[in-house]
């Protein structure tokens, strides 16, 4: 040890002893409280975790300097011959260790609670309605992330707040002022993060800043990305360390024995400025531009699906096909309609002037294909219909036995259907070059009916001679060049975040409970299912209108969802964490995950046109500028206001667009966006590239 180091180590030891003794009561109180809050059952984990972090950071930071200043001991300490950087550094580190201890106790409580009693919500839930008030969402995340990682993330998140409070403590002359001022300063700084987006030249900086200061326990499960992405962890740690070092270095030079008498005025001015800026931002707000349609054609029955053919739009109605003349986009006009009796239609594919429609025959509870001839737009005709997979009438076992259509497209004289049966996922090819009815030519078994396709947003994307789908954590490309012998081109495992073990166990269990023969066929089904889905995030049983059909949506397992295609890029919806994985599919045999778009979720994928991405969210359509560094910075809404008398019709749960498929139900052609919305065929002008401005 060199002499100067030894010289330094003695006073440092003494300082650590002194600061540790002074902080010990605070740490003890914080640890007890953290443990207690961690252990008690709670409805909302992120809220309680945020509060504990806030409490810990403020408790540890507030009297770091202001405390000694108000007690009057500061001059005694300050005339010791030791660089103030060390004095402050020891204070900072001891407080930070205290913060770590508080958080460690809290998370230990939470994890102990989880392992002893399962999700803390269970305890609350038992008090009233255990079957419906469950959400084991957090439990599953926490099991995946693990104690160490979550502690690390939470510590470095709140180290920033602690630094802010520590800084104000160096200026303030009273502990309480430091506490209040620190929280205000941190809050204002955090709020201004959003504004920096318009100032910072590089989106990448803004992106990392927003990730660093965002707690990840939210609906986007961003915590998984934060916990397993080394870059984000590194940036998080580096940011906190830089802020802390900056604060200490600044204070080392500027620290005064006296506190600032003007401190409260400075904080007050800050709040005022904040209020003025936020206020003016709210008043001048037009970030969500609303785009009105240029043309609209209302129907008296629900509209289900849509396709474009030359200057005609083919609109699939629940019980028929409508051909619409869109030569003038502003005045769409129905030229003809063909209907089918006793069927309910779901999905449309066009090949030449023939429409192939996937539907179900209500009487038989079976699915099939209906074929319409559209060669005369003013007089479309039903040409043929065929039932597939007929099952016993009246049985509720349709749930297991009727295959679900997950992909439907016609290409080059062949028709393709992705069918998710009870046992397996298959790609069926039909020859439609001759005759009215599609002739089956091949069945490609793609996968066993996997647990990961248990959500109804899952789809097989058929695009020209290729089919794209996700299976669990794999991205799969099928080659359809030879319809009689389609083959799998590649199966690429995408990145996984966390083991997801807990989740998969839950899904496994659910799977067993939903095995054929287990399901009852009465209204009790709903309750039984809720019981069975216990381990899962979300269960929605919906009864749509008068049709008496159940649509069930359960937790999306931590796999991949819909795929969107744009040039040589594929955007794959990842569920845990919720984001879009960006794949380079230049070489379809070797897709590579190159990037991601954080915190986004598109149930039906995206449609790209001229540098703008369209997606359906609820009953509206959102337009996004194309991504750069995980940002969808600006958006527009494509929607229209429908009025009945004087009242506005708006039902966000309007199921119409979702009945047939989970696709977007929007088509782009000739610089127009065509969509079905709430019993309407609607035409918008496509946004231009520069629509979002520079």
């Amino acid at each position: 040890m060199n002499p100067s180091a030894e010289l330094r180590s003695k006073p440092l030891r003494a300082l650590i002893w002194k600061e540790g003794r002074e902080a010990s009561y605070k740490i003890a109180i914080g640890v007890c409280l953290g443990l207690f809050v961690g252990l008690i059952p709670k409805d909302d984990l992120d809220d309680s975790a945020l509060l504990v972090g806030l409490f810990g950071a403020v408790l540890m930071g507030m009297d770091a300097v202001a405390g000694e200043r108000s007690r009057g001991t500061l001059p005694f300490l300050f005339i010791r011959p030791l660089d103030r950087g060390w004095l402050l550094g020891v204070k900072f580190v001891v407080g930070a260790v205290g913060l770590l201890a508080v958080l460690a106790a809290y998370w230990a409580g939470v994890y102990h609670g989880l392992s002893e009693w399962g999700n803390p919500q269970l305890l609350w839930g038992l008090l009233w309605e255990p079957a419906t008030s469950f959400s084991l969402y957090e439990e599953v995340i926490l099991a995946d992330v693990g104690y160490g990682r979550i502690l690390l993330l939470w510590f470095f998140l709140f180290l920033n707040l602690y630094t802010a409070v520590f800084l104000t403590s160096m200026i303030a002359d009273r502990t309480l002022k430091a506490a209040v001022g620190g929280v205000i300063v941190a809050w204002v700084a955090f709020s201004f993060l959003g504004f920096t987006m318009f100032v910072l030249p590089e989106d990448v900086v803004w992106f990392y800043m927003s990730e660093v200061f965002m707690p990840g326990i939210d609906r986007n499960v961003a915590i998984l990305r934060q916990a397993f992405d080394p870059m984000l962890i590194l940036v998080k740690i580096a940011t906190a360390a830089l802020l802390a070092a900056g604060a200490i270095l600044w204070a080392r030079r500027g620290l005064k024995v006296q506190g600032s008498r003007w401190f409260q005025w400075v904080v007050g001015a800050l709040v005022l400025a904040y209020g003025v800026i936020i206020g003016s931002a709210v008043f001048s707000r037009h970030s969500q531009e609303s785009v009105e349609p240029v043309g609209r054609l209302p129907y008296e029955v629900p509209v289900v699906d849509l396709a474009l053919k030359d200057r005609s739009a083919v609109v699939l109605l629940e019980r028929g096909v409508s051909v619409v003349d869109v030569a003038d986009w502003r005045a769409p006009r129905e030229s003809g309609r063909a209907e089918i009796e006793g069927w309910r239609l779901w999905r449309l594919a066009l090949s030449g002037s023939t429409a192939y429609v996937w539907g179900s025959a209500e009487a038989q509870d079976s699915v099939g294909v209906a074929v319409f001839d559209l060669s005369r737009p003013d007089h479309p005709e039903l040409r043929a219909q065929r039932l597939l997979y007929p099952i016993e009438a009246g049985s509720t076992r349709w749930l297991e036995h009727t295959p679900r259509l997950v992909g439907w497209a016609a290409w080059d004289g062949y028709l393709y259907a992705g069918l998710l049966g009870n046992e397996s996922l298959e790609l069926h090819s039909f020859d439609v070059r001759e005759g009215d009815l599609p002739q089956p030519v091949h069945v490609l078994p793609v996968a066993e009916r996997a647990k990961h396709v248990w959500n109804n947003n899952w789809e097989m994307r058929l695009d020209g001679p290729h089919a794209f789908l996700t299976l669990g954590h794999d991205f799969v490309v099928l080659d359809l060049t030879d319809p009689r012998r389609p083959e799998e081109l590649s199966r690429t495992p995408l990145r996984r975040f966390g083991p997801s073990r807990r989740y998969e166990e839950s899904v496994e269990k659910l799977h067993r409970q939903l095995a054929p023969g287990v399901l009852p066929d009465s209204v009790a089904l709903q309750l039984r299912l809720k019981g069975a889905y216990r381990g899962l995030q979300e269960l929605e049983m919906r009864q749509y209108g008068t049709y008496g059909e159940y649509s069930y949506r359960i937790a999306v397992p931590p796999g991949l969802g819909p795929i969107s295609l744009s040039g040589d890029k594929a955007y794959v919806q990842r569920h845990w964490p919720q984001e879009l994985a960006v794949l380079d599919i230049g070489d379809l045999r070797r897709p590579v995950e190159v990037d991601y778009v954080a915190r986004e979720y598109f149930s039906g994928g995206l449609i790209f046109h001229g540098g703008i991405a369209y997606a359906r969210k609820w009953s509206k359509i959102e337009a996004h500028s194309v991504f750069d560094y995980g940002l969808l910075a600006q958006r527009a809404e494509l929607d229209f206001i429908e009025k009945k008398g004087n009242s506005r019709i708006y039902d966000p749960y309007d199921p119409t667009p979702y009945l047939a498929s989970q696709s977007n139900n929007l088509v782009l052609a000739d610089d127009h966006v065509c969509a079905v919305m709430r019993n309407n065929l609607v035409v918008f002008e496509a946004l231009q590239d520069d629509w979002f401005g520079e």
């Binding site: 010289l7 003695k10 006073p11 030891r13 003494a14 002893w17 002194k18 003794r21 002074e22 007690r71 009057g72 001991t73 001059p75 005694f76 300050f78 005339i79 010791r80 011959p81 030791l82 660089d83 024995v257």
Partner: protein
């Protein structure tokens, strides 16, 4: 070793609009005990805090033991012992712990010396600092300030809070002891008697300005009380430079004059006054005489 322990030139410090120290200068020679006299609020503590780099001056040059406090604070703190006015120590520590804690910062720490002082002051090492009386607290602070064998000891109102007996012991014996070791003491106080007992030099500050500086005798000599007889029809005496106070009625006046000399004598005589006697002042009277000036007037 420099001969000058403290050298201050043109020192000014303002708190906002208020000027606490105004173009102040002083020079304290090494080995001296310098009493720094001034009324409450005269600028003593501000000056001392600047010497200790606890405040940054608005203007002026400061040198303490040849060091610039702003630039060489660490070297300064290594060589200077400082006891603040009403020093606040860590109350939760025991006396022994506080001594250990303070000692960790210095290479030159003399533990036995500090223990000797603690013993002499009758402090219990196992007692918590917060349970010490005010006097004991001041004594402990002094012991701690001496632990690292400082070349210069700066005491800000060390005697305020002490009872008479302790004050004597504290000031006379301790400071005597320190001076014997060749250390410099800079001692601020508003209690003139105390300072007179121990200091060989005195500086008087009022309203942030230095009024007078010198040995105790020089300071005493710096003002005189003059007994003047006036003729019956004479006017009041005016225009006498350094006149601080005029007392008396009728034919006799008692003048307090700062910097009394032949010039003032001539001025008095020119106005028909007859100087009956010139008396020396006590330090306290001299102090009051100097302090009056700053109040701006004859009373």
């Amino acid at each position: 070793m420099t001969d000058t322990a403290i050298a201050v030139e043109g020192l000014t410090h303002r708190f906002g609009q208020r000027t606490a120290v105004d173009d102040f200068q002083i020079e304290v020679h090494a080995g001296a005990v310098c009493g720094f006299l001034g009324r409450n609020g005269a600028g003593k503590t501000t000056t001392i805090k600047i010497l200790m780099n606890l405040l940054t001056p608005t203007a002026g040059q400061v040198e303490v033991l040849g060091l610039d406090p702003g630039r060489d604070a660490l070297a300064l703190w290594r060589q200077v012992g400082y006891v603040a006015e009403n020093p606040i120590l860590y109350g939760w520590m025991k006396v022994r712990e506080l001594v250990w804690f303070t000692g960790q910062f210095y290479e030159t720490w003399n533990q036995s010396k500090v223990e000797g002082f603690i013993d002499r002051f009758g402090l219990d090492p196992e007692q918590k600092v917060k349970h010490l009386s005010r006097g004991m607290n001041a004594q402990l602070a002094l012991a701690l300030a001496l632990g690292h064998e400082p070349r210069l000891l700066i005491l800000d109102e060390p005697a305020s809070g002490l009872d008479v007996v302790v004050r004597r012991d504290f000031l006379e014996s301790i400071i005597g002891l320190i001076q014997e070791e060749g250390r410099t003491v800079f001692l601020s106080s508003h209690l003139v008697h105390e300072v007179e007992r121990v200091a060989d030099r005195v500086a008087i500050i009022e309203a942030g300005r230095l009024q007078v500086e010198g040995t105790v005798d020089e300071v005493k000599q710096s003002a005189k009380r003059v007994v003047v007889r006036l003729a019956e029809d004479a006017d009041e005496l005016t225009g006498i430079s350094g006149l601080r106070e005029v007392r008396g009625e009728g034919a006799q006046r008692l003048l307090t004059v700062v910097g009394y000399g032949a010039e003032q004598a001539a001025q008095i005589e020119a106005q028909g006054g007859q100087i009956a006697d010139v008396m020396d002042l006590s330090l306290e009277d001299a102090f009051v005489a100097h302090v009056h000036d700053a109040e701006g007037g004859q009373s």
